[in-house]
Amino acid sequence: MRFECQELCKSFDSSHSEISALDRVSFAADDHEFVSIVGPSGCGKTTLLKLIAGLIEPTAGRVQMSNGALRGRPRSAFVFQDHGLFPWMTVLDNVAFGLEMQGVAQGERLERARAFVERVGLGQFADHYPHQLSTGMQQRVGIVRAFVTEPPLLLMDEPFGALDPQTRRVLQGELLRLWGEHRNLVVFVTHDIDEAVRLSDRVLVMTGRPGSICDTIDIPLERPRDLASREPAEVSEIKWRIWKQLEREVRASLAIAR
């Protein structure tokens, strides 16, 4: 599976004026690739993911999908910024939701969901409701809900946004482990440069609103990766480069002069 964004533009009508969120975004992503997107707040990262997922339509441009022999839109799964778990479903039903929509029989889908819930250490909480879990646990549920459908394309919108650094680090490890088994194409939005570099094969840097891609950086780290190991010097170099770009964009979008 691969996809290509071609000159994607998106603007929203607000009551006063038209807000341009994305301006001619073009990039391609290949099978088994882990791509991260970083950019200033409000630059259109969530909008871009939703366009790729087909949840909203672009104002101009298009997303070209190619899915081997399969026709139609390839399946994708979305991990939402605020996890988006249904409060009226138990953890298990939430995780099984994607399979339910695919028409998988109840017995089988619950079994598969349970296996995933247990993999992230939430077996005990399978029959709990989301509000009975901590934020970190909810995020884990949101992630396995996407993984259990084994989507060829996985879109993750700041899945670790609301977490403390320690939990974050552990969950990054869990994510890499899960991804290592499935190797789907992942597009991962984050504010955290360190996270982007450690997890991905490629990092895209976006400009402030209206967002477009201003830099693409390949990450020359071996797989499988060990998050606990010390990072090579070149990685610090790369982080510095991303940070400089981002700082410029953030300053510009906040209209702060140097």
Partner: protein, 266 residues
């Protein structure tokens, strides 16, 4: 843990028995005042007298008969009006256009006291069961309609996006998002609606018909049997409380997640 201003923890003896003590105290005070004719016992008969009358009505089967008749009317009106309100409410919640089309009419009609329409309803529907059913249905319609619309509209858009991102079609969106998402509002509306339906049924019974709690209350008054008026009033309020209680139980069964949340809040 929530503490009230007395600093007693929930579930403490006082919190559990306090309300009962208040009721018992009020009844005792009433009994005393009535017995000593501090208040006119003709108009305010002692609770023990009223209780004796209630026992009599219970034993000769009158309460079962008339409470049954009234509850059947309430439930029929509630089902009819509430069902219509539910369907229209879901449609209006789902379609902004339909909402814009119909909402002004609702805003206009809803605040009119439905009881004022009784004479008109009697002219149109005669004096049998029909006018009572129509009045109760009319009363149940609006609370359910309004709370259903609000219930659907307050569902955060994210949930629709999540469901659509996993490929949910219209049927699954309804089954898995719209319905459970608006259910808490629906139950709030249902509790209001069933109460309105009861009030309007009783009111209609006061005016027309040969049976039901309202008719019995009216009849007791006409024949100046004041303790019996109180007795029927008490039965009516128990009937109302029972309906409300049953709906509360149903809500717990239908929305286990809300129930758990409510327990957690305590």
């Amino acid at each position: 843990m929530r503490n009230n201003h007395l600093g007693t923890a929930p579930g403490s003896k006082f919190e559990r028995w306090g309300p009962l003590l208040t009721i018992a105290g009020a009844l005792l005070l009433w009994e005393g005042c009535s017995r000593t004719d501090l208040i006119t016992s003709t108009f305010f008969p002692a609770p023990s007298t009223i209780f004796a009358v209630i026992m009599g009505l219970l034993l000769d089967g009158q309460i079962a008969t008339h409470a049954g008749v009234t509850l059947a009317r309430v439930l029929a009106g509630f089902t009819l009006g509430g069902g219509a309100g539910l369907i229209l409410g879901l449609a209006m919640g789902a379609s902004p256009r339909l909402h814009a089309q119909i909402d002004p009419l609702v805003a206009l009609v809803h605040p009119t006291p439905k009881i004022a329409a009784l004479p008109l309803i009697l002219v149109i529907f005669g004096i049998g069961e029909a006018p009572k059913l129509v009045l109760a249905a009319l009363g149940a319609f609006f609370p359910i309609l309004i709370s259903t619309v609000a219930g659907v509209q307050q569902i955060p858009p994210t949930y629709f996006e999540v469901a659509r991102s996993y490929g949910a079609g219209p049927l699954n969106l309804f089954r898995r998002v719209v319905w459970p998402g608006s259910l808490p509002f629906l139950f709030t509306g249902a509790r209001l609606a069933i109460n309105v339906a009861l009030v309007l049924t009783i009111a209609a019974e006061l005016v027309v018909g040969q049976s039901g709690l309202g008719q019995r209350t009216w009849f007791a008054w006409q024949t100046m049997r004041i303790p019996e008026v109180y007795a029927w009033l008490a039965v009516t309020s128990v009937a109302g409380a029972t309906l409300s209680f049953l709906l509360g139980g149903l809500a717990k069964i239908c929305m286990p997640w809300e129930h758990i949340r409510a327990v957690k809040r305590r």
